[in-house]
Every structure is written in C-alpha cells, then in structure tokens.
Subunit: 137 residues, 2 copies
Amino acid sequence: MILTKTTEYAVRVLIFMAHEERGLFTARYVHERLRIPYKYLTRIMTDLAKQGYLESIRGRAGGFRFQKNLNKITLIKIIEAVEATDGFDKCILGLEDCSDENPCALHFVWEKTKKEFMKNLSNTTLADLVSIEIKKF
Amino acid sequence: MILTKTTEYAVRVLIFMAHEERGLFTARYVHERLRIPYKYLTRIMTDLAKQGYLESIRGRAGGFRFQKNLNKITLIKIIEAVEATDGFDKCILGLEDCSDENPCALHFVWEKTKKEFMKNLSNTTLADLVSIEIKKF
DNA sequence: CATAAATACTACACAAAAGTAGTATTTTTA
DNA sequence: TAAAAATACTACTTTTGTGTAGTATTTATG
C-alpha cells in the first residue's frame, strides 16, 4: 500500500472540492458524491480544518470551504498533514540508518523512484489539478 | 508504508541468503543474523518454500536453501508472492478501474514513476544483487 | 531407541488503522 | 422558541498486520 485509506480520502475530498464550484460543502454531500463512510469523513474534514486547509462553518447552514488559495496547497503538504507515519521517507526494507553512504540492497532503486515521486507531489498544487479534466473522484 | 513488514522480511532474508555461501540456512541462524522475530520468520520461510522459492529440509539437520536459480528470481516476483495486497499495482487513490484511459486525478503523477520502479524490480534478480557489495541486511 | 534440533501447524495476543454509534454543541429557520 | 441540520467530540467495534506460545512431525545422532 502506498497511501493509507485516510490519506486517500483526504486527497480525494480536496481534489473534488477544488473541482466543483460551490460555496460550501457539507460532509453529507461529499459523502454522497464520493461514497466515503460518512462518520469517518467528518473526522477527516474536521481534521483538515484544524490543519488550516479547510475552514469549517458550524450550525444548520454549515459546511466546509477552502481556507487557503488552491495554488498554495501542494499534494505533498496534504499527504504530510494527514499521513500518520513519515510516509515515504524511510528505508524501503525498514532498516535504520539507510543512506547513500550506508545503503541497503534496494536503496538506490527506491531512492530514485521516491525522489521523483516526491518532486511531482511537491510541484503539483490543487490549482494545477483543477485545470485538467477529471472524470472520477 | 510502502511494503508490509512481512515483505520487508522476505526480501531481506532472500537477499541475505543469496549473498552468503552456505549449503543450508536454518531459521534460527537467519534470525540471529537478521534479528527478525524467530517464530514469525519461520512462517515466512515456510511460506517461501511453499511458493517454490526455497526448498525446505525437515529434521535435525534441516534448513532452507534456494530451489530456483538466483537469476530466475526477480524482486517483483518475491514481493508479489508475499505481499497480501497487489502492492504497487493499484490506483494510488484506491479507485476501481483506474487506467490511462480512465484515470484518477493523480494517475499520471504516479504512473510514470511507478512503471519505472516496477520495471527496475522486474529486471533485478537476486543474482544481480549478489554482484554488488551490501553491508546491511 | 531416546534425545535433540529442525520444520510445520494451530491458536491466541497485541497494536494500529478503519469504521460505527451516540451525544454535545452550534446555528438557521419555521 | 423549538425543531432541524450542520460540525465537534468521545467511545466503542471491527479488521488486519504483526508477533508470541505451544505442540506436532520429521530426521540425525549419541
């Protein structure tokens, strides 16, 4: 597994919200559109609000909307905000002190892949993803 | 997390065995050298034997040795044999039917990197890893 | 033949991620 | 002002990966 379910959900939610013109998104609406378990979803969205990515409005006419500008939110930031572990920045064989100087057997194979992927995640903002056509969330 | 612990262990064991000239490897010996929990390790090695990667010899002078030629065992095969899930070859957002024709938002961000990585894993055999110096297992 | 030491098997324990349930709080609206 | 509908919070349950324990089976060796 590359990302945890929680991270998958968080990324999907934010990309979905970035694509749809809408003042406020309730968790129920996002749940219905993305089929993410409702209660679990509310926790994730509340969490994203606490982390400063979303703004939450309470009460009957409440919901969520972006707090930051879309071009300020990179994919890597989202992942880091939600992912429990360090994600990618570990040795792929789980060894301590794995580095270029003291590499494990798979170090260089993985390092190249990891760097390239993380560069992509760092350079891609939600604003970038809005401009491309997406059919599935 | 990229690989499960189980897969990490399996890969480490096989790479270790490939590097050391030795007729037979007992689980106890591998445990002492690699510090992988003994009981867990025996399960993994027994499993690798069932999958045809290792041959197991029972009884007092028993142990494990390779069943196939080292240049026939690619890293991708090992991972696929042990990893519960499909490993890398899934949609990074967990969506069904994600493909070049019907891509998710992150499909092309991840796909190119993934393909390259999987190509490396497919082209690298245990025999290849024997020829490089490895200090840690 | 009995013991030792290895693999093989089964069941259970633990921890973390994922998901569910219920309640509290806030705010709109009839 | 009371009900409705939203977020916020807390606790529990389920699932899965990881790890532990004990026993059965096999085989070499004294």
